[in-house]
């Protein structure tokens, strides 16, 4: 356990300080978006992996957060962290208001209604557009030729610093979710995931805890939206197309909806790989195809439910790596010396 914690800390330090030094600006910007989308993937993971709610519209939720943050950043001079929290809260309330009646539905119907609601939100956003410094409630100035960019935090006013800022915010969001999973809501969610009748028989108010998961996922996605506003400088509704929600679900399933690492893997698939391919002149469509195949593969090989503890492929990959590492390790009389080589702890 200690070793794991040390590895994680080392990794985070590398990410925070190594990446801005070693990577070009193009990739630093891409990694900023990875940080943003890792939060979004984490939110979707909480919904799908912990409570079994499939949302086909998380990108629309992200758009709400981005919209709220942009509006506040233009209209007020509040410090960035305050704006991020406010964007998170606004998104959280929106998610709960829209989500509560939908919670009466189950499984397929619930997923489809998220698709419907996301579609409605997308149409509204297409019409009202994103704030660009204009006046009025919507803050959109249609005739502005050179609208002002969205302001950045005073302590992170350049791309490299903003990357570090985003990573720190992401770490905070991950910690928030982590604390949830280790305490009462996490246990209640585990019971709900086992089966709803079991949870009810345990005395758990299932609707309340589903709503809590929804609130948490919406809050962090709203905060991510705020980060995205700063990262993008200018927001347009075409940045949030409907198909992205589906691609997001695909990568979350592939990365593993249950584990937190899965959210990071999902974000890398979603944002870093396309940037890599684009740099090499390969079309990102190949990734779309790959993700489509990935979804079908994950679902046909996962034995239970939509969110297996660790997707088979990643688990296989992990075991393969561990075996390779074990072979390189000094051998004691009973086999490889060091942390257990048998079956990983998926959490």
């Amino acid at each position: 356990m200690r070793i794991r914690a040390a590895v994680i800390v080392a990794l985070l330090l590398f990410v925070l300080f190594g990446i801005p030094q070693l990577f070009s600006l193009y990739y630093v910007d891409s990694m900023t978006e990875v940080a943003v989308y890792s939060i979004v993937a984490l939110g979707l993971g909480v919904l799908v992996g912990r409570v079994g709610l499939v949302s086909l519209g998380q990108v629309a939720v992200l758009a709400i957060g981005a919209w709220a943050a942009a509006r506040l950043l233009f209209a007020t001079t509040q410090p960035y962290p305050v704006v991020l929290i406010e964007a998170g809260l606004i998104t959280m309330v929106a998610g709960m208001v829209i989500g509560l009646p939908a919670l009466r539905l189950r499984g397929l119907y619930l997923a489809l209604i998220t698709l419907m609601l996301a579609g409605a939100i997308t149409v509204v956003l297409d019409t009202i557009n994103f704030p660009n410094g204009g006046r009025g409630f919507l803050g959109y100035n249609g005739s502005a030729v050179t609208p002002p960019p969205i302001r950045l935090p005073s302590i992170a006013a350049n791309d490299k610093a903003y990357f570090q800022y985003s990573v720190v915010v992401a770490i905070v969001m991950f910690l928030l979710v982590f604390v949830h999973t280790r305490t009462r809501p996490g246990r209640a969610w585990a019971a709900i995931r086992q089966s709803e009748p079991t949870a009810l028989a345990t005395g758990i108010n299932v609707t309340l805890y589903k709503l809590w998961a929804l609130a948490l996922a919406s809050f962090i996605t709203g905060v991510a939206g705020g980060l995205l506003a700063g990262a993008s400088h200018y927001l347009y509704s075409i940045d949030f197309p409907a198909q992205n929600s589906i691609i997001l679900l695909a990568v979350v399933l592939m990365g593993g909806a249950y584990s937190m690492w899965g959210a990071v893997v999902a974000a890398l698939l979603y944002q870093f790989l396309p940037a890599l391919l684009q740099n090499w002149g390969v079309s990102a469509d190949w990734l779309t195809i790959l993700f489509g195949l990935g979804v079908v593969q994950v679902l046909t090989t996962a034995p239970a439910g939509l969110a297996d503890q660790v997707p088979r492929d990643l688990a296989r990959l992990g075991r393969l790596l561990r075996r390779r590492l074990a072979r390189a390790r000094p051998m004691g009389p009973m086999g490889p010396v060091g942390p257990a080589a048998a079956g990983g702890d998926p959490q």
Partner: protein
């Protein structure tokens, strides 16, 4: 004491439970009957998963049917399921603790109550053990520990010994026999294993096609002609 009066349950065209009136005194009561008789449906009514078409259930003076399912669980209705439902993701301790967490008991006695329940059922594993490392019999015991922790008032056991080998069944029988005295709860045991029912239950009721066909002291009920006919069919 549980008083059931005129309980009727319908699923579409099928009447699962037909005007059932029954009283459960204290201790452990058996509920038997052929497959499809309505036993699990009855437990589902008590747990709150099925809404009856008519009837009243009074448990310890309280109108049980007026409470929603999870509130009944908090009040003290506990159950195990036909297919064992120990929570895979949680450790043994957390499995039992989560019931305690959502009951009306405070966190001060939680650790003690949980460990008490685990030792009462005779589960000899580390509390931090993960469910997936346990065998079928041990998982059942976790489920029973969840049913007895804290202060249960009504414990519903749905075929707890199904699929278990003899020695584990008899251990389970021991636990079930000591249940009412240890917890003060009224226990209803649904099972097909007649020796288990004989060993644990002072009284037994028999359902067939949703109707009550016999009830009373277990030994007498098991010898009852109507009951034998219901199980074996008319010659």
């Amino acid at each position: 004491m549980i008083e059931v009066t005129g309980l009727t349950v319908r699923f579409g065209g099928v009447t699962s439970i037909d005007d059932l009136s029954l009283v459960f005194e204290q201790g452990t009561c058996g509920l038997i009957g052929p497959n499809g008789a309505g036993k699990t449906t009855f437990l589902n009514v008590l747990s709150g998963f099925v809404r009856p078409a008519g009837g009243v259930v009074r448990a310890f003076g309280v109108d049980l049917l007026s409470m929603t399912h999870f509130r009944r669980a908090r009040w003290g209705v506990r159950r195990t399921f036909q297919t064992e439902q120990a929570i895979e993701e949680l450790s043994v301790f957390d499995n039992v603790a989560v019931v305690h967490e959502h009951s009306k008991l405070g966190s001060a006695t939680r650790k003690k109550d949980v460990l008490d329940a685990i030792s009462f059922v005779g589960l000899d594993v580390a509390p931090g053990a993960k469910i997936r490392t346990l065998g079928a019999g041990q998982r059942r015991l976790v489920e029973v520990a969840r049913a007895v922790v804290g202060r249960p008032r009504l414990v519903l056991l749905d075929e707890p010994a199904a699929g278990l080998p003899d020695e584990e069944t008899s251990h389970l029988g021991e636990v079930i026999r000591r249940l009412p005295e240890h917890t003060g709860a009224l226990t209803i045991l649904v099972d097909h294993d007649m020796s288990l029912v004989s060993a644990c239950c002072q009284t037994t009721a028999v359902l067939d096609f949703g109707k009550l066909i016999a009830s009373g002291p277990t030994a007498a009920v098991l010898r009852n002609d109507d009951v034998i006919r219901a199980y074996l069919g008319v010659a």
